[in-house]
């Protein structure tokens, strides 16, 4: 960054050196409290540190933990694929539903303010509170939703959904859909509102009907926004912890043990910090990959939606 002043190509509004004090605190804070810990975690991942076993004081063991994880940890891989399935199912349903709702609002509702504001409610609630709400609603003996599902014949008996292994993941996906579909709706709606009118008019003149306008014009123009929504949701869903932790704690057994919850268990239930760091590292790695896709594919393109 000391090169700042030396770069002859940039347009410098800031006086020499005066940009440094402005940007330095932010950079330092992130370095100390995020990169530092991350580096430490990476180091810990290569040790045998465990609070549960007094013999494991944190000796350096190289990549043993990673080898163990890749080859001999069926629980990790079970959890990994569970997470992948959860992300795919939840994000796909949210996307299709959210897009459809956005189209409905865009097409039929003129005064959208109140409606979109109310739609915001689920996603602005603390995820912990969302977990609580649904835990209450899905109680076996007095849960409101359980009761109506039973009345509608969708549930054979009014039992607690979260203690029925086969129903746990579908319920968690449904709850994630409930919470985050409005997010997709809002973003897509913002995209729809920002679409230029003229390509659609041109397509009308060119003879395209509504369906062709949708597939030939609208979807391609919305592509950056669609990619953005899918990636943001994908990253968030992959990190999912709070709701599931409150609702099931990963159970019954490990039926709903998503990666974050597994990492939590290894670290704070088993106190196996070395191996826990390895798991956490893997979670970060996946998110980092998704994140760089987000950056490359989405951010800079979305700046000029519509174009000429």
């Amino acid at each position: 960054m000391s090169k700042t002043a030396a770069n002859p190509h940039g347009r410098f509004l800031l006086d020499h050196g005066s940009s440094l004090p402005l940007i330095l605190p932010a950079t330092l804070l992130v370095l100390v409290f995020l990169v530092g810990p991350f580096g430490y975690m990476t180091y810990t991942a290569m040790t045998d540190l465990s609070f549960a076993n007094p013999d494991q004081k944190g000796a350096f063991i190289g990549f043993d933990n990673f080898r163990q994880l890749m080859r001999n940890d069926p629980i990790f891989w079970g959890s990994f694929w569970l997470t992948v399935r959860f992300v795919l199912a939840a994000v796909c349903i949210e996307f299709v539903l959210g897009f459809a709702i956005a189209l409905l609002i865009w097409h039929f509702i003129k005064r959208q303010r109140l409606l979109t504001t109310l739609l915001l409610v689920p996603m602005m609630l603390a995820p912990v509170a969302v977990g609580l709400i649904w835990r209450l609603l899905l109680q076996g003996d007095f849960g409101m939703v359980t009761y109506y599902l039973h009345k509608l014949g969708l549930l054979s008996k009014a039992s607690a959904i979260f203690s029925t292994p086969s129903l746990v993941m579908p319920a968690i996906i449904a709850i994630d859909v409930w919470q985050w579909t409005p997010f997709v709706t809002l973003i897509i709606l913002a995209g729809l509102m920002s679409l230029p009118k003229s390509p659609f008019e041109a397509a009308t003149i060119d003879g395209a009907g509504p369906w062709r306008q949708f597939t030939d014009i609208m979807l391609p123009l919305l592509r950056p926004i669609i990619a953005l929504v899918l990636l943001l949701r994908g990253i968030d869903a992959f990190k999912e912890f709070d709701k599931v932790f409150i609702m099931t704690g990963g159970g019954p057994g490990t039926v709903s043990e998503l990666l974050s919850i597994y990492a939590y268990r290894v670290n704070f239930k088993n106190w196996n910090l070395g191996y826990g760091a390895t798991v956490a590292f893997m979670v970060y790695l996946v998110v980092l990959i998704l994140c760089s896709v987000f950056y490359k594919a989405v951010y800079w393109k979305s700046a000029n939606i519509g174009g000429r």
Binding site: P196, S198, A202, T204, I205, D206, G207, G307
Partner: protein, 347 residues
């Protein structure tokens, strides 16, 4: 063989009336220019003909067939948009081919037609590019190509040149003129630029406040403007108009005095700046206020308490300086008379 607007009115939801009982009729094969200041309804008229807007009242016909309620794709009309409205995610080739793809043209025919029209508009070498890689002029040509490729009977152009820089605009203007001669299609062209209208149109429809004011060929519009509005709108610099009184065949307005052939009473007199004669001993004297040289012409602006008088001349004006008194003469043939109240042309 004609396009006709009958009593077409368009009111928007916000209460503005864009068109107010427009009546307009022209033949196929013409180059019609809809001209007017902003808010005159020219673009609305164009969009109603395209089918993008629906008239509140009135009827549109092509060849005697009522198309008022026909969807745009059934009208056989192509359109060039002001901002070009190219599909930014498709290549130039696909942009041009799109109307043909919708009409399920066979691949060979489609390819031939796209290449033909690209050739015609000299964009053959950009076919693989994206719209974002085109200059304004090239994007313009692509838009025209897309509008013409499926050979519609009518081609609408909504201020297509207004986003181009001055030089390119002149060039495209010539190009459009040539295109019209060659294709012999009906062009309907919307603009607020009277010079564009004059050079392109076979007939100019001048709109004001949603009504047709005059519909004539450019020469008639220039020489016999139907009212004071047209007179002042067409020509640059604008026609001089003066409100005054005629007494005993002599018109007076401030220092302006001249012999006229019209009955006594109030009248508005008009004369084009380029038709005023300087010097000589006829006429009246006025004080020169500002001198602007626009080679090869010189604009002389005279001011008195009743307003200003602009003169455009090609003669050498080095001898004139602001503040100087100059003799001015209005040749009788070049005078226009308008009703002092309504502004309508008197004869």
């Amino acid at each position: 063989m004609a396009v006709s607007f009958t009593e077409v009115t368009k009111r928007f939801a916000d209460g503005t009336t864009a068109l107010d009982g427009l009546n307009l009729k022209f033949d196929l094969g013409e180059f019609v220019v809809l001209l007017g200041p902003s808010g005159s309804g020219k673009t609305t008229a164009c969009r109603i003909l395209a089918g993008l807007e629906h008239p509140s009242e009135g009827r549109i016909e092509i060849d005697g067939r009522d198309i008022t309620n026909l969807p745009p794709r059934m009208r056989g009309i192509g359109m060039v948009f002001q901002n070009y409205a190219l599909y930014s995610h498709k290549s130039v080739y696909e942009n041009i081919a799109y109307p043909l793809r919708i009409r399920k043209t066979s691949p060979a025919e489609l390819d031939r037609r796209v290449k033909d029209v690209a050739e015609l508009l000299q964009i053959g070498s950009y076919l693989h590019r994206r719209p974002s890689q085109l200059s304004g002029g090239q994007a313009q040509r692509v838009a025209v190509a897309r509008a013409l490729v499926w050979e519609p009977t009518i081609c609408l152009m909504d201020e297509p040149l207004s986003n181009l820089d001055a030089l390119l605009r002149l060039h495209m203007r010539t190009e459009l003129n040539r295109l019209h001669k060659r294709l012999n299609k009906t062009f309907v062209f919307v603009t607020h630029d009277q010079e564009e209208a004059m050079t392109l149109a076979s007939r100019i429809a001048i709109l004001k406040d949603g009504k047709l004011v005059q519909f004539d060929d450019p020469r008639t519009i220039y020489r016999r403007p139907a009212n004071r509005f047209v007179a002042e709108f067409m020509g640059r610099p604008a026609m001089n108009t003066m409100d005054g009184m005629v007494e005993n065949g002599v018109f007076r307005s401030g220092q302006v005095t001249c012999r006229v052939q019209c009955p006594d009473g109030p009248v508005t007199l008009g004369i084009r700046p380029e038709q005023i004669v300087l010097g000589g001993d006829e006429g009246f004297a006025m004080k020169l206020d500002v001198k602007e040289t626009v080679e090869p012409d010189t604009l002389l602006i005279f001011t008195n308490d009743k307003g200003t008088l602009t003169v455009r001349t090609q003669r050498d004006c080095d001898d004139l300086a602001p503040g100087q008194s100059v003799n001015i003469h209005f040749p009788p043939d070049s005078l226009h008379y308008f009703d002092a109240k309504t502004g309508e042309r008197l004869r």
